[in-house]
Symmetry: D2
Subunit: 319 residues, 4 copies
């Protein structure tokens, strides 16, 4: 393959820029032309496409967000839009596209793939919710950001002897909550994968109080089926301890990417360029068992995430 | 004076521990005995009072929150409670008390002062809302924390070309919003001191869009008379740009204190010990014109904060 | 096993406290008694041993360094010392010991193991230089710290159009340099595993200048056989660009541990407690292929680290 | 005045970009044309001058270093060079120049001023060594950076029970050492303004050991007349405690500027634009007594810095 494109789509994630840089420079180093597609599938439809040089991706490795921007595209959801997208790619002579994003972005990529474009998916989402890979780009940074928040919250919760609930991102996947809760020493962790049991959370808070703890911290993933405000009220009532909730929201995105996210993104970005150079069929690039691996894009989308309770159980044991 | 007490009260603020350390060690170095009163006026009523040694305040300078804890006290609001508090101090032989906190804490201190206790107020509150001092302890750290959040929000807002509203602390005083907005390059700043004009905010967002900005950031103090959710809806509707809101809440408290807060707290804590050593009447310690100064505690409470529009105007000019 | 001990030894690493917490609480939760041995093998000889409670390891998860302290022990290097150590353990009724540290600490553990003590080694060293495990505790945090430094250095190098050399830790293993260099976008990386070629570094700097880069950054591991001062002089002379060197030294240790180090440490600490509970023979606990695994302690020490040039080549390609 | 220039010179300092932004935008908002002079006086001689737009200074407020770059200029030291510089400014029609830098940069500015150019000096240097202003831009950020390093060093020093010496920037002025030492709880602070007394430092370390401290930290300014290596040897020998030294060097520059530096830089940058707009004579802009003030540029250069021992004495008392 001689000419490839790259886009970012869906929610942004720290490390996306490192992946863009890796694909662009690896591609250039192998003699390919690399085109940046601005604003995801929407920009593709608009022909917002620009040829990248080596220096085009300078000074971005350490930046959060994505220089390629991202956007929702209603137009691309239609068959007509998808066909138009392929025709735009044809116009530019682009034979393969690297799509950095989550589930929805990969589905978009599949639509291009079905129409003959070679698509390499790179998992860029803070949620870590893709079944085919152990880690997604942005997850590690997001959890480190939450850990810094927990540190602040611990100071003030301890001063006031309060319970604090922190609602973190994760609609269907509790991984941010799970890792932040284990690594942050939360008293209880509420995630979509485990049936909600508010009484258990209350028991753990009370047990902590009795053993002399000054404060309690509960981490809750946004996908847990109780509103954070309601949860706060119930916990305060049942434990008798003043309870506050905080929802850091989009602060969890962004921020300079961590070592893990930069290294992972660099490896995956380069791998995507190599696979396209070799004219490989559409694939999803992941990391499993500590190794960068690629599986069929469609296959990746069909895999179901299995919840491994090990970290959850460990967190509950150690809290 | 030979024997003094120290307590923290109201919302915690980063740097309180530095002030506690300074009062304790300065007091000890002058030959006084220093007693820590745990959990503010509530702990005073309960006699939660402990003699401090040099090492009692080791390794706390860099910690957020307050090792003395803080609590609300309904009992202390009554005349009976206040008299009991004085009698507890008598029992311990404590003649003077350092009170670290905000407005409400100083009013509590006044009640002790009226009953013969020498009280030195140290301004510990992130809101910077005390009229008699240019800076309160905790303010600088809180704004630095908000600036780090704005940095994250900017990454993601820029990737998605969104407007982001960040609601920061400040019920009656917009200083956190003002400094964070000026220093963070916010497109508009909404504070209680300036009449709310949502259309102005919308105009500034639209002007930014037209000049090619990828995103807009609005900083709003919590005391502004419109809910953040409502504001979000109005701005999104009027500007046509996707708008998100985030309320970092208690994350703004806590965190390791900044240089300014540690230095300020050390100076003020030492000053409080000196004033009590010299048997001075009750005073509020502040910083004005770059100098640590003390004025009468009652006088400090009666001063009205005047809003200086200079920073606000500058922020609007530069955004 | 009913009674176990835990010690940290060698250079401290961020996450050691998380491992201590995990071993202690997992051990207690299974009904064992857990004893903390203060100051490594030296403290063991001195009988500095204390029974741990649940709360003994509260509020340490987020702290760098090690609450158990660490020390060199000349006495323990002798046969006499080692026998005395075993007899101290006997006196306390401690049958198994968790040793958190690097190569040298594991060798110390082997001496206990040969005398009948069950020893579980947990890899705690920022250098990532143990052959039997993909990651050691403290490595990820150290690289993140170096990345923050590179960010500062980049600002000032760019302002002055300088070359900056950053000497990072790593006597025999270049992993900190390698990851920091790849993730930090260094122009060249000098590590002990790759033959020193100063001309290549100079060529890369000159190439960067010609393509319009304002500055260059070279990451050098301390084990590379040229002094950093000498390297600076040679590079400055050969490239004609002003060159500065910085040696952050022990700042690379310490600091609040990252997500990866806290999760890894928690998993490994718990695993060590489980293995001792099950009366397993001495083992080294590691992570390979994304899974926590244990191999024989002696076997672990005999494994030779193989250098995988993949990351190095990638870094050179992308810079 | 209708057309002004701006340059940064000398060592870079965090917040310079905020000052550049403020001058440019304030100038534009008053209807002036603002020209950026790249690479200080050297770039001025080369005519590296570019007209600035509103968006030219977008997204720089939060960046360390200086987008205008800085350089040494031998040519500008000569009378010939200075006359040429004035003639370049004439060619561009630039009547006034904002010079952001330290002592040496202001002297350069004086040479322009003597030849009829209106020069406004903004104090941009991390050293805080200008007599006419209480604070320089970059100082607060640099001390906060050093405080983060001390935090890391404390972790590891405590684990190993060591003394650590941290050499910070400051050739003639010990302010970074002084503030970092007070705010970081250093056991002793060595600055050029106080006569070197290594025995006092040793006594303080020994006193700390006797009172049960696990570690000691000594902050030394680079201008203190003993090499850090030598100091290390002496302290280790006299105290008998293992002693390590670290020289963070240029890491102290750079980094995202703090609230104080961004606010100060914004105020000063705007003030400089206003003064030029009003055709004021050459001035140095500073902050004294909490207020932005301007004094004659020559007068500012002639002022001698007086050392106020208050912070030093306080640090010694509280350590």
């Amino acid at each position: 393959m001689k000419r490839i494109g790259i886009l970012t789509s869906g929610g942004d994630a720290s490390g996306m820029n490192a992946a863009v840089r890796a694909t662009v420079r690896k591609g250039l180093s192998m003699g390919m032309e690399v085109y940046a597609i601005d604003r995801g599938f929407e920009g593709l439809l608009d022909g917002n496409i620009e040829k990248m040089q080596w220096h085009s991706v300078g000074d971005i490795l350490q930046r959060g967000g994505t220089i390629l921007r991202t956007a929702r595209s209603e137009r691309f959801r239609t068959e007509e839009g998808q066909e138009r997208a392929v025709s735009v790619l044809d116009t530019f002579g682009i034979e393969g596209v690297v799509v950095i994003g989550g589930d929805g972005s990969f589905r978009g990529g599949m639509e291009l793939s079905r129409r003959g474009v070679h698509v390499m998916g790179i998992p860029g989402t803070i949620d870590n919710d893709l079944a085919y890979t152990d880690y997604t780009i942005g997850f590690d940074t997001a959890v480190n950001t939450v850990l810094a928040m927990i540190s602040n919250i611990r100071d003030t919760s301890s001063a006031h002897e309060r319970t604090s609930i922190i609602e973190v991102m994760g609609r269907h996947c509790g991984d941010i909550a799970l890792h932040a809760g284990l690594a942050g020493g939360a008293d209880d962790i509420l995630i979509p994968e485990i049936e909600l049991d508010i009484n258990r959370a209350c028991r753990r808070i009370l047990r902590g109080q009795q053993s002399g703890k000054r404060h309690s911290i509960i981490i809750k993933a946004e996908g847990v089926p109780v509103s954070t405000a309601e949860l706060r009220d119930i916990i305060e009532e049942r434990t008798g301890q003043e309870t506050r909730a905080v929802v850091p929201g989009h602060i969890q995105r962004g921020g300079t990417p961590s070592r893990q996210d930069r290294v992972l993104a660099s490896l995956m970005g380069a791998k995507a360029a190599e696979l396209l150079y070799d004219d490989e069929e559409s694939k999803a690039i992941g990391i499993t068992g500590g190794e960068i691996r690629a599986c069929g894009l469609e296959e990746a989308l069909q895999m179901k995430r299995e919840f491994n309770p090990m970290l959850y159980d460990l967190a509950e044991t150690l809290a």
